[in-house]
Subunit: 641 residues, 2 copies
């Protein structure tokens, strides 16, 4: 049934349906609806509806600290999963933290500090169950590069560290503000393709930087582009490489990559997860026994014992560095946020639970603000550790607490043992960690799906590799914005034709079998008509008309008498758009062509009426469907010879 | 015929039509087409097709200097029109120029200089037939404000003037570059509403500034906001006002406004056009006779005789002021461009000829570059003088040449006579000229059509009036961009229902008579799905589903088994969009709801295939129309009790 009877009944009552004019909303309601859709599209207060005041208060507290809500249902069984996952990510994070701190030009203990306090804060405030919090490679590199532009970390380590805390503070403030003011959608402006390229480029850059530790080079460039690094590497090939270092580095890198290979078997995921810690223990022990450091193998040398000291007084609350820290913090905070939200969403969709992006930002922001006051630098969700966390069977954020406790114990008791850890092993760990960020499969898919996305991806990639992280980031953001601007200034338009034996009108380029109606040009505009494109739309429609007229001139076909604009995709129109329609109407009038509109949406038809354009055009020239509009034109055309 | 038979045949062959997959284009062609549509959407080389080389060369020269093309058909009859129009706008521009130069804190002769050289350049290069070139109020004010922030025009007039020429040079360069690289669409990013507000605010600010000359106040604030100005005015009410000045100003302002009123009769358009010059002559004569300047009536005092001296050496080619001039030039150049293009388009559509925006920009840019080297400041199209030009019957840009010659003669012979011109009369002329820029009718129309546009309009207006031109401009640009960003991040979605006795599915909010199909949720997404909105779209669709499920829970209706996404308005999709669809598909799978797509466009269906999403979904779940998709769902639902 259905289709058939519908069609029949349709043709019995041909032009019954007028284009609906929606009931007028009052201004306040309209405004409210838009604000709600923009900032509260996820309807965060849904659960607060129809509750008593005290209940609302409890719900409010629970919204800020989700642990109060899921903590009540916490079971021992869940704890078993969290314990194993927490221990696994702890063993992975400790060596990584030490390495990543070096990327940020900070002493190794600051990496560990950043894996102690922030995960605890996140555990009580965050809503993701799978994310593993701590320092990450890309943000460490970015922060290190940006800070280094302001202060030399070797000549002036104290000021450098103070600026790092200042930047961390403002990164946290930025994140929290975005969350509180529900501006989370701003991070959506960095396109997926640009992120893939940026991450890949950053990974290559980080890996190249590791050649310093890996080859035991002492004099190394401070620039991060591939050309400077390669020059550095080869110019020191003869006397700057240290073969003992290379042996240690290469053998453990082989071990780590092999472990990674084994880890592809999902049951053996823990092999690559604990391989780094095992490598560190073995290498440290080996260096300690053989005193290879005397033979020129660079080691960590010194690492502070004890937990995070307060750093409240180290943050610059005034002066020149306040502004610089502020700017660096915004950039680092946004990138950290992008990574954390992407991770949160990925794992939430795997386990099918919802993540509130804005709430998540508040949690991440709070954790970095507290972190900046407890000697931590910018922490966020780590993709590699979150994946391990997930595979190790974590159930809740308790796995972060477990990891945090392990790091705490490490800081209290074990850190002195790390002083004999060779830098080469840290480099090997970082290289094996970041190569996963080079997502060439994603790049291939992007190439297949969208060539312009691929240009964005490659632009960001080569920008990072041949320029610097900042240049790459700038390219990524610029290309993303250019795409958005292109989208709004140059909407697509299409000429429609009738699909044989239907009343359906479709793009004749997509459906070559579709036939044009003689004497009628049907144009579809594929976007809202706003000030940014109204002129283009008007001129493009006139150009379609000119093209059609030219074709007809050759064919001696019927003169064009009607222009139907199919407005289904035109979801909104503004004053500039109305002006453009008026101009189009006047131009057509001079050529003795009638303008006919098909299916304007509710907002559009409303504005056509209030602006009196509907009266100017004639109410009877606005139709529900293209088919009805054509039916209106057709009998008239028949009169013409 | 038509409709009926089509419908019948349609229902006989129900599911015949597959969604068309367009023929694959090769990458280069695809890229070429996009570049063409973005930068050459007006197809500027159309006339060059199939021509010999020498002909192409001539066409190229003519494209740069349109005067060569229209000059050949120039007749004496046209010249008569141009002569009258040119003389009329000359009489209007001379007093305005002197006043506007003061707005830019420059000596009066610089206003006249700017009405001599630029119109000549424009006449040979421009394509508008009606625009009148010269200094304009808003750009003069903007330039004056921006320059004043850098250099004090009273303490350091030489440097100030040099910076003004530097800014003019870069304004011209900016305009020319936008034209050459075909980036003209960038000026479309300033919305009509924001411009109306900005112009209105600037007009009020300019009028308020004239109170200084109008009331004969000596000590006057340098700020332009209404509060500072009013404080200045009232604090000098007791001893700072000069009654003779007020009498002169008020009587001539009355005369000018009366002339304007008479000018509403289209035949008497010349009355307000020559009234300013008559006022100047009368007032100057009166002051000269009565020596009212001795009684405290401020007069112009000094005005250089002779034509434009060269200013090539005055432009800052290096140093700190180069950068400042560059930045000021970009802003002033863009605003000047916006005004000129708006005027060009308005009058072109009145006389039904085409304006090539990009070519126009090159002409305006060239004229300002040459102007900056001949002691002119930023010139552009003046709305009031262009309107007079049009009404006086101008035929071509020759009217600008006529005006330019009159200004040339004035500079050579008459300028010394202006030294007794009272400032009050200039203030009166400026006030009567700018009040037309307060376009309250446009503001009312904007309020009626689009409330958010109205907010932008008022934001820009109050920003200028209570802040400064820069603040107003910043607000205008920010609101314009915010609207664009909102448009791409929060596309609209709608639930569709079947319109009774048709196969048409429409938004149930617009068509309350439309009925939902039980067990099926039909959602239409009203935008291309890009990285900037893919997450929102996915979550919004799931929220529609939740809403529907909640309703059904109450009604004990059929369980929802199908989600149809109507994709007609989805003109494009990128990798992030495909990811979002995949996530949607997985979420629905867990809830045992089938995802069905209706009418994806050519780009979308292509990408659905290359990304293998079409295979994942099942090729048979993509339909040409919503009706066919429902017909697919319906028999299945029937099996369910």
């Amino acid at each position: 049934m259905g289709e058939r009877s519908l069609s029949n009944s349709r043709s019995q009552v041909p032009y019954l349906h007028k284009v609906g004019v929606p009931p007028r909303q009052n201004l306040f309601k309209e405004f409210q609806a838009t604000v709600k859709e923009t900032f509260f599209s996820d309807d965060p207060l849904r659960s607060f509806k129809d509750q008593t005041k005290s209940r609302k208060f409890i719900l409010g507290i629970e919204a800020i600290f989700p642990i109060l809500s899921w903590g009540r249902n916490y079971t021992f069984k869940k704890f078993r999963g969290d314990l194993i996952a927490g221990l696994t990510i702890a063993s992975l994070c400790i060596p990584q933290d030490i390495g990543y701190a070096k990327l940020a030009n900070l002493d190794p203990q600051y990496g560990l500090y950043s894996s102690f306090v922030p995960p605890l804060i996140y555990a009580v405030m965050g809503s993701s169950r799978d994310i593993a919090i701590g320092p990450v490679a890309v943000v460490s590199l970015l922060l290190g590069t940006l800070l280094q532009n302001e202060i030399d970390p070797v000549a002036n380590p104290t000021d450098y560290r103070r600026l790092a805390f200042t930047a961390t503070f403002f990164a946290g403030i930025t994140q929290a503000i975005l969350g509180v003011f529900r501006l989370g959608f701003l991070i959506d402006f960095l396109s997926h393709a640009a992120i893939v390229g940026f991450m890949g480029g950053a990974a290559i850059t980080i890996a190249l930087q590791q050649l310093k530790g890996f080859l035991g080079i002492v004099k190394f460039t401070k620039k991060s582009d591939i050309i400077s690094v390669m020059q550095s590497v080869f110019s020191s090939a003869h006397h700057g490489w240290n073969w003992q270092t290379i042996v240690i580095g290469a053998s453990f890198l082989t071990f780590l990559l092999f472990a990674k290979h084994i880890g592809k078997n999902r049951k053996l995921f823990w092999v690559p997860a604990i391989a780094p810690l095992i490598s560190v223990i073995l290498a440290t022990f080996f260096v300690y026994i053989t005193r290879a450091d005397k033979a020129g193998v660079a080691i960590v040398k010194h690492i502070d014992k004890g937990i995070n000291p307060s750093s409240v007084k180290e943050i610059y609350w005034s002066g020149d560095y306040l502004g610089k820290g502020f700017r660096i913090g915004i950039v680092a905070g946004m990138i950290a946020l992008t990574e954390a939200i992407a991770i949160g969403r990925t794992f939430a969709s795997k386990k099918d639970y919802q993540i509130d992006g804005n709430k998540e930002m508040v949690a991440l922001g709070a954790m970095n603000v507290v972190g900046s006051m407890t000697s931590c630098y910018v922490a966020t969700g780590s993709f590699s550790r979150s994946a391990v966390n997930y595979m190790a069977g974590c159930e809740t954020a308790v796995s972060n607490i477990v990891m945090s406790i392990v790091v705490f114990l490490t800081l209290l008791f074990i850190t002195p043992l790390f002083q004999y850890t060779p830098n080469a092993i840290l480099s090997a760990i970082i290289i094996s960690a970041v190569i996963n960020l080079v997502d060439y499969q994603a790049a291939i898919l992007i190439w297949k799906i969208d060539k312009f996305d691929f240009v964005a991806c490659m632009g960001a990639f080569f920008g990072v590799v041949f320029g610097s992280v900042e240049i790459g980031l700038l390219i990524a953001v610029s290309i993303s914005f250019a795409k958005i601007l292109l989208q709004v200034t140059r909407p697509r338009t299409a000429i429609l034709g009738k699909i044989p034996r239907t009343t359906v009108y479709r793009n004749i380029q997509q459906y070559p079998e579709a036939t044009k109606v003689p004497g009628v040009v049907i144009v579809r505009v594929d976007s809202a008509i706003y000030f940014s494109n109204s002129n283009y739309v008007k001129e493009r429609i006139l150009r379609w008309l000119m093209d059609e007229e030219e074709q007809i001139k050759g064919d001696y076909q019927t003169k064009i008498q009607f222009l139907i604009v199919e407005m289904s995709p035109v979801t909104d129109i503004d004053t500039s758009g109305i002006h453009a329609l008026e101009e189009l109407y006047k131009s057509l009038q001079k050529r003795e062509i009638q303008l006919v509109l098909a299916n304007p949406g509710s907002l559009v038809i409303d504005k056509l009426h209030t602006s009196n354009f509907a009266d100017l055009l004639g109410e009877n020239k606005i139709f529900l469907t293209v088919a009805e509009a054509v039916a209106y034109c057709y009998p008239k055309l028949a009169e013409d010879p």
